[in-house]
Symmetry: C2
Subunit: 149 residues, 2 copies
């Protein structure tokens, strides 16, 4: 019945979205259920947990998140006493963000669960397949916008 050869079920951006959504939703239940966090918040938390002290812009560059998202996530995380802010003494536009003990505890908890979740997620895939998947995803994430014909 259809006139084109296009197949949605094999269309990579579509598959990416489906896969990303299922895995995100699964993990969202954890940080939302345990700490009432939003996706933006756990991203900020994970970055601070992994890389230590960072500014909001640094997180933005690394996580490819818009600065307003970060601003609001940081606001909520400081309210919950998981993050502290400290003005830079040289350049007083910047703030250095750090996890509090409470924030670090949450990070340790969640990163542990994340690691275990990933194992279960990759259960049906071979070591080689996982390796291919990772490098492919990295390349796709870095791909450039559409150029037309």
């Amino acid at each position: 019945m259809q006139s084109t050869e296009f197949e949605l079920e094999k269309f990579i951006p579509y598959l990416l979205n489906q896969a990303a959504e299922t895995s995100s939703l699964a993990f969202e239940k954890v940080y939302k259920g345990r700490y009432g966090m939003l996706r933006t918040e756990w991203r900020v938390l994970f970055h601070l947990g992994l890389y230590g002290r960072m500014t909001a812009s640094e997180i933005g560059t690394r996580a490819k998140m818009h600065k307003t998202k970060i601003s609001r996530a940081v606001h909520r995380l400081t309210e919950r006493r998981m993050v502290t802010r400290a003005r830079d003494t040289d350049d007083r536009r910047m703030e250095h963000l750090t996890l509090t003990a409470k924030g670090r505890a949450a990070y340790e908890d969640l990163s542990g669960i994340a690691a275990r979740y990933e194992v279960s997620l990759l259960n049906g895939l071979s070591r080689d397949e996982v390796a291919v998947l990772r490098t492919a995803l990295v390349k796709l994430a870095e791909s450039k916008p559409i150029s037309f014909t």
Copy 2:
């Protein structure tokens, strides 16, 4: 400095999100720019274009979209004269959705661009890598929620 072995840069759900977001944003420019559509709308359009007449629930099941999203997307698509609705005569709760000529034209246009975009997206990957990627994404999309320890 960090205490866990967790690596965000290799964490599959994170990579999936990054890749999905880049490719979605790239393609969003197309359907938004050309037809002023939202993501939910092009999904509905694509399903109707591919599978012909469908009800809202059928689209919901296939696309894993919530019914409210579909309801609103269909509303906007009918406003733009891209979709028509027809009550089922036997079960008058259901509506059968079909593309109009205008809707089909938009679908043909966009699916062509999508196909070409996918080619460019997969440029840096070998045939085998693409195959692995596809099957892996399908499996991940079907994966089940987290089970705790």
